[in-house]
C-alpha cells in the first residue's frame, strides 16, 4: 500500500526532523547565552558590548574578504573537529590531534617540495601521505589501548608532543633552507598546491582570494564521515563499541579492532587538516604553524555534539570568532581575549548541558522504571 508506506516515511522524516531540531536547540542556546555573558563582561570592563559585537560580526562576515578569512580559519577546524568527533563516537578521547596534524602536514609538505609530477597525481598523493602519516601517529595509542588498556588521553597527548617536537626539529634542521632565517621548509611545487577558489569559480569572487579547494575537501570529509558513521557497518560497529562495548562484543564486533580503526581514521582526519593547510594556504611547512587547531577541534566536536555535519557550523563559529575578534580589537579597541571568554563560556555551557542531559536521562529512567519494574534497573542510588 503506497499510502501506508508514504505515511511511514513521512513519520520517519518527521521524527528525524524533530530529533535534529531538538539536538540543535541546546548548542544554539549555549552560543546565545555565551554571547550575553560575553556582553556583560565587556560592559563590566567599560567597553560597549553592542559596538563590540557589531565589530566582531562585521569583521567575521560582512565583506567578501572578511568572510573568506572566516571560512579559511574554519577549514582546519572542520578536519580536527571531525577527528575528535569520530574517535568520540567510538568512546575514545583523541586529544592528540594537534600532533597528528603537524606530523601529517610535515611529511606531505616534505614530499611536496621534492616532487613535481602532474597535479592530478601530486595532489591526491600528498593528501594520502598526510592522512596516512597522521593515522600512523595515532596507531601506537590505538594499539596500546586495544592490547593493554592504556588510556588514550595520556598516550595521544604524549604522542602529540613527540610529534610537535619532531616536526619542529625536522623543519629547523632538515627541511629549512639554510640560506634563510625563516623556520620553514621550501615552497612546495606548483603542482602540489590546492587551487584557490577564484581560479576554479571566477564568477563567484570579485577579487582574488586565498580561499582554496580545501574548503570543498573539508565539507566532503564531513559528509563522508557522516555516511561512514550512519550508513556503513564499519560506522555501526564503531558506534556500538562507543555506546556499549559489551553488547557489541556479543554481536560479533571486535572491540580491539574498532578501537584501532577509529583512532586511525581520527588521526588521518587530523593529518589531512594539516596537509590541506600546507597545500592550500602556506605552500610550505612552517615550524609550529598550527594555532592550536587540534585543541580547538575538541571544542568544535563538543559543540557539534560529535555529529559530523554539526562540525561544519561549529568550526565556522570558531573561525568567525578568531577572525572577528581580531577585527574587534583593531577597530573597537576591545581586547581579543574576550573571544576566549566567549569560547570558554560556550564550552562550559555545552559541558554543563551534558550534565543536564544526564540528569534528564536519570529522570526518564525513573519514570521508565515505573512502567517496567521487573527488569529495569532501579535508579535513585543517590537518594537511598
Amino acid at each position: 500500500m503506497p499510502g501506508a508506506a508514504g505515511g511511514a516515511r513521512r513519520r520517519r522524516i518527521f521524527v528525524a526532523a524533530k530529533r535534529v531540531g531538538l539536538s540543535l536547540m541546546q548548542p544554539v542556546a549555549s552560543v546565545i547565552i555565551a554571547t550575553v555573558i560575553g556582553g556583560v563582561v565587556m560592559a563590566a570592563f567599560g567597553f560597549d558590548p553592542f559596538s563590540g559585537y557589531a565589530g566582531l560580526f562585521r569583521y567575521a562576515f560582512l565583506s567578501e574578504f572578511n568572510f573568506t578569512v572566516t571560512v579559511l580559519n574554519s577549514i582546519p577546524l572542520i578536519f580536527t573537529g571531525l577527528a575528535v568527533a569520530f574517535a568520540f563516537r567510538c568512546g575514545l578521547f583523541n586529544i592528540g590531534a594537534e600532533g597528528q596534524l603537524m606530523v601529517g602536514s610535515l611529511f606531505a609538505g616534505w614530499l611536496g617540495t621534492l616532487i613535481s609530477l602532474p597535479m592530478v597525481i601530486t595532489v591526491p598523493l600528498l593528501l594520502i601521505v598526510g592522512a596516512v602519516t597522521g593515522a600512523l601517529w595515532a596507531l601506537l595509542p590505538g594499539i596500546l589501548k586495544a592490547t593493554t588498556g592504556a588510556h588514550e588521553v595520556i598516550t595521544t597527548m604524549m604522542m602529540s608532543w613527540i610529534g610537535l617536537y619532531l616536526t619542529s626539529y625536522l623543519v629547523k634542521n632538515v627541511l629549512m633552507d639554510p640560506r634563510t632565517t625563516l623556520p620553514a621548509s621550501n615552497l612546495i611545487s606548483e603542482q602540489a598546491r590546492l587551487l584557490t577558489l577564484n581560479r576554479v569559480l571566477p564568477f563567484l569572487f570579485r577579487s582574488p582570494t586565498r580561499l582554496h579547494l580545501g574548503v570543498v575537501l573539508a565539507v566532503l570529509a564531513a559528509v563522508f564521515i557522516w555516511y561512514l558513521l550512519t550508513r556503513t557497518s564499519l560506522g555501526f560497529e564503531v558506534r556500538a563499541v562507543g555506546s556499549n562495548p559489551f553488547a557489541a562484543e556479543a554481536g560479533g564486533v571486535s572491540v580491539r579492532r574498532n578501537v584501532i580503526v577509529a583512532l586511525l581514521i581520527s588521526g588521518a582526519l587530523a593529518g589531512l587538516g594539516g596537509t590541506v593547510e600546507v597545500m592550500g594556504l602556506h605552500y610550505r611547512v612552517y615550524d609550529h604553524f598550527s594555532a592550536g587547531y587540534g585543541f580547538t577541534g575538541i571544542t568544535v566536536a563538543l559543540l557539534a555534539k560529535n555529529h559530523p555535519l554539526g562540525v561544519i557550523p561549529a568550526a565556522l563559529l570558531f573561525g568567525a570568532l578568531t577572525n572577528g575578534g581580531a577585527g574587534m580589537q583593531l577597530k573597537a579597541g576591545i581586547p581579543i581575549d574576550i573571544v576566549d571568554v566567549l569560547s570558554g563560556v560556550i564550552i562550559f555551557l555545552v559541558a554543563a548541558e551534558e550534565l543536564f542531559n544526564a540528569l534528564k536521562r536519570r529522570q526518564e529512567k525513573r519514570s521508565l522504571l515505573s512502567r517496567s519494574m521487573g527488569g529495569a534497573e532501579i535508579d535513585g542510588r543517590s537518594e537511598a
Binding site: 557497518s233 556500538a240 554481536g251 560479533g252 521508565l368 515505573s370 519494574m373 521487573g374 532501579i378
Partner: protein, 518 residues
Amino acid sequence: MEEHIQTSRGPESADTVVRLTGISKFFPGVVANDRIDLDLRRGEIHALLGENGAGKTTVMNVLYGLYEPDAGAIEIEGRQVRIPSPRTALGLGIGMVHQHFMLIQKFTIAENVVLGHEPHTRARTLDLREARRRLRELSDTFGLEVDPDRKVMEASVGMQQRAEILKALYAGAKILILDEPTAVLAPQEVDDLFGTVRSLTKQGLSIFFISHKLEEVTEISDRVTVIRRGRVVGTLDTPSTTKRELAQLMVGRDVVLQVEKEEHAAGKEVLRVEDLVVRDQRGLTALKGVSFAVREGEILGVAGVDGNGQIELEEGIIGLRKSASGRILFGEEDITSHGVRGRIDRGLGLVPQDRQKRGLVLDFDLAENILLGNQWKRPYARLLGLDYDYIRAQARSAVEEFDVRTPGIEVSARTLSGGNQQKLILAREIRRGPRVLVAAQPTRGLDVGSIEFVHSRLLELRAKGVGIILISYELEEILSLADRIIVLYEGEVVYQVAGAGAARETIGLAMTGGLAGE
C-alpha cells in the same frame, strides 16, 4: 469497571500502620498508579502481586518518598503525612530494599550499614568499632547473619541483601518494603530470606513484599493485593485464596501454569564441549573441565546456583571468553579458536543473562539492535554500506512477530520494559536461524505472560530441531523445559539426569554441593 474483590477489609483498627488512599501517579503518557488504596497492618506481611509494569514498585516508591503522588493521601500510624524524600520516609520508620542493591561496593558491610548515621568517637572521628558492635547486636536480634568486615564486592548476593535489610533496620525502620527480594537469590537463600522475614514480623515489623511470583506470595504473605495496570484489582487473605485465583486476577485471564511439551526424539549431536576450562574476570578458574553434548531438538538444562560458572559457560560457548583448555566442537568442526563472529556465522546464538549489558545497545534504536550481529552479512550489508530499508523492514516484522510492545522501531531500546527488551533479543537471535541457542536466564524478571511467551518460543525451536542450552537459576524452569539436565557446582558438572526422571531433591542437593566429590 473491572471486578474488584475486597474480601479482607477488616474493621478500622489502630493496628493499621500504613494507609494509602487514592494514590495516583502519572508519567508522560502512562498512568502508573490509578487511585490505589492499600493498607498495612502491624506485624503482617502484605504482598503486592502484579505483572512487570503493573505499578507495584511505583506505589512503593511513592511511600518511600522517591516519587510524590499526583493525587491521594498517605497515613502513617493514623497521622496524615507528606513524604517528599527517602530521608523523610526513614524518619517515619519506612525502609526500602530495592531489587538492585544500593551498597557501595568498596566499603565493608559495617561501613555500608552505618552510612548516613555513623557513630562517632569523642574526637568526632568515625567509630568503626562501635559501628561493628551495633551491627552485630542488630544481626543477632533479627537473625541476619553477615560478616561486618567483608567488602560488599566480596560478599554473596544473599549477604548483600541481608546488609541492605540491616541498613534499613539500623536507620530505625519499622515498616519494610522489599522489592522483588527473591529475584537475585538461590533457592536456599530464598528459604533463609523467608525465615528472616518471618522473624522480623515477630519483632513487630510490618512488611510490604513486592513480587510477581505466585509461589512465594502464597508461601510468605498474610494478605495479598493484586495490582493490574496501575489499579488494585483485589486484596485477599492469602490462606483463603488459590494460586489459580491470584494468577487470574493478575493477568486478567487464565494462565497455563504447566508447560505443554511435546514428546519427540532428539536428532544427532550438534555441539560437544570437552574438558572446557574457562577463567573468570579475576583470572581464577571458574569452569574446571566441563564436558557435555547437545543434540538437535533437545533442550539441555544447566541447573545451578548463581556464581558456579554459568557466566563463564555462557561466554565460553559463544566465544566471548577464551577457553584456557578443552575443545568445543560444532558438529564435526572444532570451533575452539573461533571468535564470536565465526561462531555466529556457523549458527550459534546467545540470549545473554545480562540482557542490558550484553544483549542490547540501549541507546540504539530497535532497528539497529536487530542489526547487531548481522551487520557484516548480506542482505543487511551491501557493497557500499548498510541497507537501512531492509534493516527497518526486518525490525518491523521482528517487532510484530515477537509482539514487542513499542510505539515504533525508531525509539531507543532503553525505553522498552524488561520483558519487551527480552523479546527483542529473542527476536534477533531466533530469526537468525541458529542451530544451537544458548539461553541464559531467559525469563529472569519477566512477568507471567512474557515467561509463557519465551517458553513457547524455546519449545518451538526445539521442535524445529535446534539444540538449546538453557542456563537457569530457576529449577522450576529447567524441570519443566529440559530434556536432559546437568548441574553445575563450583565450575564442575556434578550431576546429570534425564529431564523426565529428574528428582527435584537430588538436583537441589547437587546444586548445593551435597553430591560433590561422589
